[in-house]
Each structure stands twice: as C-alpha cells, then as structure tokens.
Amino acid sequence: MDMPVPAARVLARKQEIVARLRAVLPSDSVIDDPAETRAYECDALSAWRCAPLAVVLPRTTAEVAAVLRICTEEGVPVVPRGAGTSLAGGAMPTADSVVLGLARMTRVLEVDFENRFIRVEAGRTNLSVTAAIEGEGWFYAPDPSSQLACAIAGNIAMNSGGAHCLKYGVTTNNLLGVTFVTGAGEVVELGGPFCDAPGLDLLGVVCGSEGQLGVVTEAVLRILPKPEGARPVLIGFAANEIAGACVADIIRAGILPVAIEFMDRPCIEATEAFCAAGYPDCEALLIVECEGSPGEIAEQLGLIREIALRHDPVEFREARDAEEARRIWLGRKSAFGAMGQKGDYICLDGTIPVSALPEVLRGIAALGRDFGLEVANVFHAGDGNMHPLILYDANTPGQQERAEALGAEILKLCVAAGGCLTGEHGVGIEKRDLMGVQFTAADLEAQMRVKDVFDPPWLLNPAKVFPLAASAGRRAGGASRGAAPDPEVFGPR
C-alpha cells in the first residue's frame, strides 16, 4: 500500500506541535509516547499499520476546534477516528499525522420523543444510542455488524448501513443534523431537528465524506418506535441462482421484509463447524425477517412461503418462538467469527443490482479458482450489498498480496455488473486506487472540488478515498493548485 512520504518538517517539529496541543487540552488528552500511540496505528483493516505523530482525545467541540486550528497552522495532517472499526483503513494514520479520537465524547445531550430525535456526542457507540431509548420503546435504525463497538462519528463518516436498511435506510437517511468543525477550526451547525434545511444539502455531502471535510462532534439522529415484533424464516436452496431468483420474486411481489440475508455453501459450512446452528446442507440459504404484530408477520410469511415453494427449496423453516428465531440468526451473526477461525480474511462490500446476483456469484467463484483462494459469501441480498470473504494465510509470503489482487478483481466485477466498489464500508485506503474503475477523471475532480472548499490545505485524512496520483497536486499545494479560492472562506483568520 503506497502512502505519501511523511512531511519531514512536521516530524522535526513534533515536540513543538505536541506542546501546543498540550497547551489547549487537559494533560490526559494528548498522547505522544510511541508505546501508547501504537494502539492507534491501525483500525480493523489491521494488515496496514502506521503509528501517528500523536493522538488527541478531546472532550468538547471547543477542544476539537482548538486542535484543528493548531494543526492547520502547523500544516499537520489530521486523521479523525471514531472507534477504529473501519474495515477500509479509514482511520489509518500517517507518521506525520495527529489522530483526533472522539472516544471521550459519548454523552446523550437530548432525547425528544415528541419530535422523534436524539442528540448525542459523536463518539457514542451505535448500539448505546438505541440502549438509551429502548426502555421507552424506541430505537435507532442503522445497525452495522460492528454496532457494539463502532461510533456514530464513524457511521456518519462512512455512511454506514446494516442488515435492516432495506426498510430503514442507511445513516444518511436517519441523520437530521450535525455539529461539525471544519479543518480551519470553525464550528458549523448543519441541519437540525427539522426537515430539508434551506440551500445546498451540505449535511448530505458531509455524511459519507470519510472524515475528509471536517470533524462531526454532535449528531441529531432520527429515532423510531420499535415494531411490535419480528420473526425470521430460513429457506435453503439447491443453487445460488435459485436463491437469487427467489429474492427478486419476493421483492416483486410487493413484500418488503426488513432483512434478506444470503449465505453460500462455503459460508454455511464454516458457520456450522463454528457454532452448529443447525443449518440445512445446501448450496445457498436465505434468512428473511418480517416485522409487525403476530398476525401481520403471519400474513407476510405466508406470501413468502408461497413464493419460496415455487423455487423447490431444500428447506423452509419458520421460527415459531424466540429461541428458534435466535437459532436462525445464530449462524449468520457468527459468520465473520467462523471465517476468522479458518484463517485470515479480507471482507469486501461491493454492491450490485439484485438481478445480477447469480452471474456475479459465478464470476466470484471462477476468480477464486483462478487465484487459488477460497471465497465465502454472506450478504444483504435485498439491496445487493455483497460481502465476499477472501480467505488467506498472512504467514505465507505473497498470500496477502494475492488476496488483495483477487479482491480488486471481484470489485471490478461488481462495477462491471452495474454496481459499485463499496456499499457500506467506505473507500478508505483499501479501495482508493480502484476509484478510477467506477469514476471518470471528471467525476473524481467534481468530488475533490468539495474537499477543496471544506479543507483547502488538504490536511484532513488526506491520503484516503482518491487515488494518490489524482490528489497528488492538491496534497502537495493545497486547494490553491486548483481554482482560485474564495476569499470569504479562505481568507486570513
């Protein structure tokens, strides 16, 4: 993985920079001991590591702004970090960067059931947002698999999804407003507990900008009343194609389950060996979950059963009680752990049109054979968000490179099928150099112009998202290398 050469002038000024940070933050909020900064050298894409210059853990928006002002003045890159669970290297530092972690900003600031929102500090974990309101019968809908650990800040940066977004949407569809600090240290409020702020939808472009436009310190999130109940069915099939056709038929029939999850044979076998969920011996299976009252669920599941039976399922298993529901979800929820026990793996998340599922699954299998690596598939089928897991052995020289090369080919296949490189994990460093597969130079230029406006010196998470070659001029000279800056925004402070 190519990363920019760290700026020598920044490395040389480490002591002065750390001293300036210490002057505006409490002493326990600045970490520069190399033994301690090591904890921040990577995120969940742990194959790539680099310890930062320093780490700051501010407790307030004002402290975040103070840090950003100093870093801008010193020309120091800043890597915002939520909980460090990115699978794409979105929070991987560079040696000349300050990691700005939000782990100490976790408070609930306001709960308003009448207006259906919660306002939280952005370091709060996803699941603990729901935990704060579920006693009153409410929940926050986006549910990435890492929800126990991942922070709202990172969810906003990556526009995270989850298993239930077929019905409830992803982060951007549930985000009403943010308190946001620009690279220059200016605090800006975008949106709020009302709909469709006037003017350009800056909130919409900040969400999913991978920490490159500013640092979100607070968020106003839409909350929803919990449904009366939910119940899954498990349907086994003799072939991936049949499972794919069944998904399309369910959607076309006008039923909108909250989740349709897909697992292929390699994944089923791995999870059976891991947790013995009692899944059928078959090529592919679907877990379909419906919500509502018992009567409403029965109505939906009745229709799904009718559709599934037309596809000669190997098995159709309805959960009759909570324990059976738990067992149906057990294998799916253990899938990543099961694969982890088999070896190292890379998890991709290219998204494809649902209609292309069978063709893309065949293509992935063929590529796996070509590269001599095993690929298991477990994914959100309703929205076409694939999760191919490429198994490899990091201790065998050359295997990681081969796995990464296979990953790149699989993502190209997704794009060729009409899809995209990443459905919910983000680009980070992992898919940065593949962006040209999906976008033209003009498309990328349009995106980079947005960063020019929010972060003229290109100091925020600088070596992510865009191919290094495409952003080289901007990173070297700031946005001024592009068009003339607007004096109102870029003028002296």
Binding site: E189, L190, A248, I251, C420, R449
Partner: protein
C-alpha cells in the same frame, strides 16, 4: 433553448454567455432572470422491477414515470407532490425537476425525502462538464455523496441530465384514521400516532377534516393497524376512513384547500412540536403535513411571514409572494455554499437569482 440530450446540454452550457434559467416542467414557482434553458432529455433508460430501480432522463414527465412503475405494482417512495394547480402554473412536472427541487409528499414521514430515494444522477456543471454521481444500487458509499449535494440544489451547481431512483412496492391497501380535532390539538394527535408501532405513512391536519393518519400495506395488516390506531386515538374521537382515504392524501399532497385562492403561499419546515404555536401566530389559513413538521400557510399578500411566525426551529420558504424565497443561512454555512457554487459554476451562469 431546449435540449434533448446530454450532449446538447453540454453544448448549451458551454456556449452560454449569460445566466441561464434552467426549467423542467416549470411547476415549482422558480423565479429569476436569465435565458430559459428547458431540459427535455426524456425517456426511461432502465427499469428493473426485481431490483427496485429506475433510471430516466431528467426531462421525463413525472406522470410517465409513475405510469411505468405503477404497471409493475411499484412507486416512487416519497410520493412526489404536484404544485402546479396550487401555484397557478400550467406545466407538467418532470422527474429531474422533482430531484432538483427535492420535493417530497406526505409519505416523507415514513419513506424519507426525494433525496433519500435518489441513488444516482448525471449533471453538467457550470463549465459544461458532464459528471456522474452515485449509481444504480441502493447502497453505495463509493466517494462523496454528490447526489445529495445536487438534490435540492435547484440547478445551482449543475443541470441534471439523468436521475436514478430506488422504488418501493406500491401498497395494495390503505386506510386513514381521522380525528376531528382543532389545529391546537393536532400536534398531540399526530405525535401520539407517530410514536406508535403502527408504521404511519402520512400524518397531517386539514381544515374541515382534522388530523389524518394514513396506514398502508397488505390488506390484513392495514385493517389491524387502523383498528389499533383508532383505539389509541379514541380520546380524540378517531374514526377509520376507507373510501375517502386516497382523496384525503391527494388533497394534502397538492394542498387543495389553497387552490384558486389569492394570497402568498409559504412552507415552514419546523420542529413538529412547535407547529401549533407557529400556526396560531400566523394571520391566515394553515395545513399541516409531516406530523406537523411542515406547515403550509396561505397569508395576505405581502405578509412578512418569517417575522410573524418567529420564533421557530427550522426555516420558511416563500413559494408565492414578494418575500425572499429561502431562509437566509448562517454566515458560515452560506460561505461554504457560495464557495461550492464558485467551484462548480466558476462563470456564475447557473444562479439567475443572484445574477438578476
């Protein structure tokens, strides 16, 4: 000028020497000087019912899109409303106009805004360069979300040439639960309904009707939820309407109580709990949508509605009247927006309001 392809649009923008006034169907009350540029890039490019996705030229009439997807039992989730009759404008809404204005109907409370269903688009920026943003899949975090930035931008950053939408199955059944309460009570009724687990897909208040709550879905489910919701709202005398349901939501989406009436037309997007107090301060008639989060107001000509309604958490839009159309933004936000405009439209030809 009228363009029928993206290539023609590129030529028109590159050749422009003066500000352009970009028009779809001309039904949203857009104003401004500048040369009229009508985007007539029309036709459905791709429709995959099994994948719930549709791609169409930006100038495709909204009615054509709705007919195509209705034939497969599907619909645009956000229920795009028509305002032509409300504003006394004769045109036919286009799908690109809907996206550029980010207009959403009553189902916004359940299915989100237009921008939440917009999964991809193509546009031509102010320098005449064609750009693709997003794609045709409903989960896509590849690069910045320029789709959101362009949605609702009213052509200020670029002219839309193509749009891609996520669709939803059309509900086979619907019912409305109606409670004849005065406006002052409406907020409490709507909030109680939206806090219930009954998946309300519309929540408004109409003069002469009272508070209305819509339930959609499979027949059995609608019947069940309507019964439960009516029971929940029994203290306000709620009743179930079956026959009249469709008409109620058309009336609300199109704001029919204001049709053919003189006066200024305003929209307030606010925190729902503030709606009743704001409405009480306004010297005119109101209709509520989005659980009270949207207040439609018909006010005497020349009313300074923002001053009259204050204080409120949100913003007001003057759709018909002499007042400035949009609420002024906070200085820091306005500066960022202006800098984006300067980057996407360096010659300043896509903002006739500023140019004029």
């Amino acid at each position: 000028m009228r363009v029928e392809s993206e290539a023609e649009l590129v030529e028109a923008v590159r050749g422009a020497r003066a500000p352009l006034r970009v028009v779809g169907g001309g039904t949203r009350g857009e104003v401004g000087a500048g040369e009229r540029l009508e985007v007539a890039i029309s036709g459905v490019r791709l429709y995959e019912p099994g994948a719930l996705t549709l791609i169409a030229g930006a100038g495709t009439p909204l009615s054509e899109i709705e007919a195509v997807v209705a034939a497969e039992g599907q619909r645009l989730p956000f229920e795009p409303p028509r305002w032509g009759a409300l504003l006394g404008l004769a045109g036919e809404s286009t799908i690109g106009g809907v996206a550029a204005a980010n207009v959403s109907g009553p189902r916004r409370v359940q299915a989100g805004a237009c921008r939440d269903s917009l999964i991809g688009l193509r546009f031509v920026d102010g320098a005449g360069i064609a750009v693709q943003a997003g794609g045709r899949v409903m989960k896509n975090v590849t690069g910045y979300d320029l789709v959101k930035l362009l949605a609702g931008s009213r052509g200020r950053l670029g002219v839309l040439s193509e749009v891609a939408f996520k669709l939803l199955p059309a509900a086979p059944a619907q019912a409305t639960v109606r409670a004849e309460v005065p406006l002052s009570e409406a907020g409490r009724v709507l909030a109680a309904a939206l806090a219930s687990p009954f998946d309300v897909s519309g929540a408004g208040w109409l003069p002469g009707q009272g508070a209305v709550l819509r339930l959609e879905g499979l027949e059995g489910s609608v019947g069940y939820r309507a019964g439960r919701l009516a029971a929940l709202l029994a203290p306000w005398g709620a009743r179930i309407e079956r026959e009249g349901s469709v008409a109620i939501w058309r009336d609300l989406a199109e704001v029919r109580p204001f049709h053919g009436r003189a006066g200024d037309i305003w929209r307030f997007s606010v925190k729902p709990s503030e709606a009743a107090a704001i409405a009480a301060r306004l010297d005119g008639e109101v209709v509520l949508d989005w659980g009270g989060g949207l207040i439609w107001a018909l006010l005497p000509e020349g009313t300074d509605a923002r001053a009259q309604a204050a204080p409120y958490t949100g913003h007001a839009t003057c759709l018909r009247g002499r007042a400035p159309r949009a609420e002024p933004e906070a200085p820091a936000v306005a500066a960022l927006s202006r800098a984006l405009q300067a980057r996407f439209d360096p010659r300043g030809i896509l903002d006739p309001e500023r140019a004029g």
